[in-house]
């Protein structure tokens, strides 16, 4: 049973989300909080696997909460929930190194898949991101330093491509006739190479330096 926490200051929305998640198989909401401070307090008594985190909250907002969590509970996988879809906000979320983000506009049924993927692969990459990712990359002068991109090997690119096609670690191993452990090793290497905190960072990096083309995301 996956232990899920929901943090959102809008009570009705939080309740509806918990209700929905409890209706999914193999997962349960064990913790609800209306802001970051309350969440951190409750985490002292309750362990969780997955956290759904709203960005705009009073007292302690999502950005600050995430940074605190990163040092205090690095094992928790965080899915950022947001009603904002401006490129600038998503860029900031990506730079934080969260494991995934989910816009409140997305079909609620997609949420089940998002939580499962987050648990299995350690990241979730929303499809609608394809439309906005171009904006993020088109204005790179904001924060990214201009440097020579590191080279990806053919095998690494292959793994990246299959990951984007939503293949799981085992499926990738089967397709490429290698062991799942080797796939994991390649993924870890990629994260180190690109200095990313998780695999989303690797994907963003690959798009920014045209190692992958955006069309692959849309197909």
């Amino acid at each position: 049973m996956l232990r899920v926490a929901v943090t959102d200051d809008h009570t009705l929305f939080r309740k509806s989300l918990s209700f929905l998640i409890n209706s999914f198989k193999n997962m349960e909401v064990v913790l609800e909080a209306s802001n970051g401070q309350e969440l951190l307090e409750k985490l002292k008594h309750q362990a969780i696997d997955i956290l759904l985190l709203d960005l705009q909250m009073p007292k302690m907002d999502g950005f600050e909460t995430y940074q605190r969590l990163n040092t205090e509970h690095p094992d928790i996988k965080v899915l950022v929930l947001t009603s904002l879809s401006e490129a600038e906000i998503i860029r900031k979320i990506m730079e934080l190194g969260v494991h995934g983000y989910f816009t409140k506009n997305t079909d609620p049924n997609e949420l089940e898949r998002a939580i499962l993927k987050l648990n299995e692969d350690g990241f979730y990459f929303e499809k609608s991101l394809a439309n906005i990712i171009k904006d993020i990359i088109d204005t790179p002068s904001l924060n990214v330093s201009v440097e020579q991109p590191v080279a990806f090997t053919e095998r690494e690119t292959e793994i990246l491509r299959l990951t984007l096609k939503e293949y799981s670690g085992i499926e990738i191993a089967d397709t490429l006739y290698i062991s799942p452990k080797t796939v994991e090793k390649h993924k870890r290497n990629l994260m180190e190479k690109t200095q990313s905190k998780n695999f989303i960072g690797v994907i963003m990096y690959a798009f920014s330096y045209n190692i992958l083309s955006l069309n692959e995301l849309k197909n």
């Binding site: 809008h10 929305f13 509806s16 989300l17 209706s23 490129a87 600038e88 409140k104």
Partner: protein, 256 residues
């Protein structure tokens, strides 16, 4: 004879005193009018300033009420409908739930747009440049217009009021261009010159003269632009070009 000269003298002295008094009276009246006019002008400027401030505050309030309250509620309803939909097996009920969901989706998009138009959410937290960037992206997508935007100056320091008014001015100018100018291409960039920040907007649409149009009674939008410029001490300048229009908003900025 002596009496006559004396009388004449008295007559002239009397007349001059009368004239001087009349003149003095006239000067007092003129000075008084000028002063009243100045006070009135100051008053109307203050009134305008207050009304801009109130407008800004109210826009912000309504936008955040919509964003934090209503959008959250509707998202919650959407979650519940989604739950019912997955648990329902009767086809006609399922299709009703589907219709409810799609109307909810439409309402959500509409409210989000209204909220954005009232007050772009990035302005306070991410500043003017990011907000303009986002705004121009939206215009590009919605209107199918080729927009090139360049921001060679990235770190501009402007006050809250300045960034708000600048955003409204630029938004008003661009939406006017699109509405009346038959525009297919817009260029926007920011320059720094001496102690001035310059926001330059160019289009390839029908040429018009800003200050002639301003006298037109219909030019409410343009009057609004001028009042907003005055608020923050910015100047609007139109450069005549062969094709299209070029408008420069310059703001005195000592910090940048």
């Amino acid at each position: 004879m002596e009496n006559e000269t004396e009388l004449k003298l008295i007559f002239w002295i009397g007349t001059s005193i009368m004239l001087l008094m009349a003149l003095g009276f006239l000067i007092v009246v003129i000075l008084y009018h000028k002063k009243v006019y100045r006070i009135r002008q100051k008053e109307s400027e203050n009134l305008l300033k207050t009304s801009f401030q109130i407008e800004k505050r109210e826009r912000k309030r309504i936008a955040s009420d919509l964003h934090d309250g209503i959008i959250g509620d509707l998202n919650a309803v959407r979650n519940y409908v989604s739950f019912l939909y997955t648990k329902e097996f009767e086809t006609d009920k399922k299709s009703v739930l589907e219709d409810i969901k799609s109307s909810l989706d439409n309402t959500l998009v509409n409210i989000q747009n209204i909220s954005y138009n009232l007050m772009p959410p990035l302005l306070d937290s991410f500043g003017l440049i990011h907000t303009l960037n986002d705004y121009l992206d939206r215009i590009k997508k919605w209107n199918n217009i080729d927009i090139t935007a360049q921001y060679p100056v990235r770190n501009i320091i402007v006050s809250d009021t300045e960034s708000h008014e600048l955003y409204r001015i630029i938004q008003e100018i661009i939406s006017n261009m699109i509405k009346y100018g038959n525009v297919s291409k817009i260029e926007f960039h920011i320059e720094k010159e001496d102690n001035k920040l310059k926001f330059i907007i160019m289009d390839n649409g029908t040429s018009f003269d800003f200050y002639t149009k301003l006298k037109d009674t219909q030019g409410m939008g343009l009057k609004n632009i001028i009042s907003r410029c005055k608020q923050i001490g910015a100047e609007l300048e139109q450069i005549h070009v062969v094709h299209g229009n070029k408008i420069i908003i310059s703001l005195k900025n000592t910090i940048c």
